[in-house]
Amino acid sequence: MARKIMFKDAINEAMRLEMERDESVIILGLDVAGAAGTEQARDAWGGVLGVTKGLYPLFPERVIDCPISESAYIGAAVGASACGMRAVGELMFSDFLGVCFDQLYNQAAKFRYMFGGKAVTPVTIRTMIGAGFSAAAQHSQSPYSMFAHVPGLKCIIPSNPYDAKGLLAACIEDDDPCVFFEHKALYTMKGEVPEEHYTIPLGQANVIQEGKDVTIVALARMVQFAEKAAKALAKDGIECTIIDPRTISPLDTDTIFSSVEKTGRLVVVDESYDRCGVAADIAAMVSQNVFDALKAAPQMVTAPFVPTPFAANLEAAYLPDARKIEAAVRKTMGVSNAVKMQAAAN
């Protein structure tokens, strides 16, 4: 039965159900239970924002608090997974991926290929992304493009509680290394989520709404902004399709291409950067594959190519928002030109 729960509780529920279903599922991370070695009760934290809260009492052997040694415990999650476990490594902030990059980039991602197809490494790394909290340059990034660039890794970026639960379950059950990016602004977002176990296939985009004029591709928190922009545009008669790819590796290019073939216009919205990122990637693939359908140059709405600033006004200017998306859509519609032409005719 479905009921409304928060994004973070949906993630917690996915892990609990997977741990109930499969004894080989383990969780490694910092304070995933909490209070280890103190005289106080365990499960004091359940992760820094409480996402794993309540799992330790159910599975005390399998929820494992680790020292602040990201290379060691992410590497251990990889190593354990190559030895028959299904480890979920919680890496608090995705900004910390730099500390343990090798264990994902050179180890987990490459085992299967290097070892001639014999290795299976069903590890999942959960990590937070996203700006908007004045957390500044080292706790606000969305570096998933770097991981989508690596053959051998899968990159999952949910935008709502239903998807979060189903996609995380799919990651844990998947036999390849998955990096699961959780936008911290979505943790308290509520949505309908079935109580029972379910999975959402990796590599299957979600078409949130269909409109004939423009295809907007948006990820994670940007989906909400795209929806807001689309509402405003609808008042002017501009109808938007919104596609949430949900996973950027694998990427459901079929859904994106066939939508652009119908609309002829593309706007990609990404909280990460314009350079060498997922927005540029999608824009390039659309240009290469469905060029003839395009009525206007694809547009990207991204963060500018600067670190995330601290001051609230700078951070607000840094983030994509509905207004910026709206402007990009109007640009693909040639609306600014149309207005000018109309003014000239008058």
Binding site: S71, G75, A76, A80, C83, M85, F111, R112, M114
Partner: protein, 326 residues
């Protein structure tokens, strides 16, 4: 200790060491001819370490190796023919020709891979050991690493985590005196000549042994591995040894004293020392060892011939096996 090993075990250990020596010496020769692709790092001289440790292990026990990994592979039971074909980049290689010298792995044998990244192994084996601990099957994880890798953060982090989580894990430091061309006297100043002294600071038992003495390694490994199997946590074993070739094939080795290797080959060769010990104790006849030498020579010759004759990987292997499903 010698007496505690059956004759069968002694012969097996000698054979493994001879296989490593013969394999590596032959790769050295073939590489010099320019017939091998890529680059190779040879294990000759360090045989007593890999074999002294791995003689205690079974296929459920996991090891992680290094860029100098051929010796660990052989000691853990990986087939020579597949290894040689892999080094030649052939379809019949252990990894289908897609890994090469630095990435030979055979997971069915508990060999989790040679590794091109210095210091990558300790976290992986911490994970393997954690899996052993959770499964309660009595298996252990062993990570081999060099004096160079002993300075990597991954190694320090993993020593701490192995103690924290009480993992059945053995750290085997192969101190061959050179991290590429740099001496640990410069890069691993621990207030003594023994890098193992660091490990004690992490709260685990640590020993330094003569890594060219099979029996010294074997004995230290027995204690460490038995302890780990019984839930007694990690151990650090430093093996002082020497590599007979350069860091990589083609290394001019201008950083080494003249005759260092020549003298070691004469006076401190692990195979010669093993042979002298077991024959003088009357445990094995010299002729039995000579028979092994000859058999291994043939085995390596066969592996080279098979590798030379084997086909290259099919071109569709290029795109295969990145993912289980995608």
């Amino acid at each position: 200790m010698k007496a505690q090993l059956s004759k069968e075990n002694l012969l097996k250990a000698y054979r493994k060491m001879r296989e490593i020596r013969e394999f590596e010496d032959r790769v050295h020769v073939e590489f010099a001819k320019g017939t091998l692709p890529g680059f190779v790092h040879l294990y000759s001289g360090e045989e007593a370490v890999a074999v002294g440790i791995c003689e205690h292990l079974n296929d459920l026990d996991r090891i992680a190796s290094t860029h100098r990994g051929h010796g660990h592979c052989i000691a853990k039971g990986v087939e020579l023919e597949g290894m040689m074909a892999e080094i030649y980049g052939k379809k019949t290689g252990t990894c289908g020709g897609k890994g090469g010298s630095m990435h030979i792995a055979d997971l069915d044998k508990g060999m989790m891979g040679a590794n091109g990244i210095v210091g990558a192994g300790p976290p992986l084996i911490a994970g393997a050991a954690l899996a052993s601990k959770l499964r309660k099957d009595g298996s252990v994880g062993v990570v081999f690493f060099g004096d160079g890798a002993s300075n990597q953060g991954t190694n320090f982090e993993s020593m701490n985590m192995a103690v924290t989580l009480d993992l059945p894990m053995i750290f085997v430091l192969e101190n061959n005196g050179y991290a590429e061309s740099t001496s640990p006297k410069y890069s691993a100043k621990v207030g003594s000549d023994n890098i193992a002294d660091r490990a004690r600071g992490f709260g685990m038992p640590a020993v330094t042994v003569d890594g060219n003495d099979f029996f010294a390694v074997y004995e230290a490994a027995a204690e460490a591995i038995n302890r780990a199997r019984k839930g007694g946590g990690p151990t650090f074993i430093e093996c002082k040894t020497m590599r007979y070739f350069g860091h990589f094939e083609g290394d001019a080795q201008t950083y080494r004293p003249k005759d260092e290797v020549k003298n070691a080959r004469i006076n401190d060769c692990p195979l010669k020392r093993f042979a002298a010990a077991v024959t003088s104790a009357g445990l094995v006849e010299a002729t039995e060892l000579e028979a092994i030498d000859k058999a291994v020579l043939d085995q390596v010759e066969k592996a080279v011939k098979a590798a030379e004759a084997a086909p290259q990987p099919d071109l569709d292997a290029l795109m295969a096996d990145v993912y289980v499903s995608y």
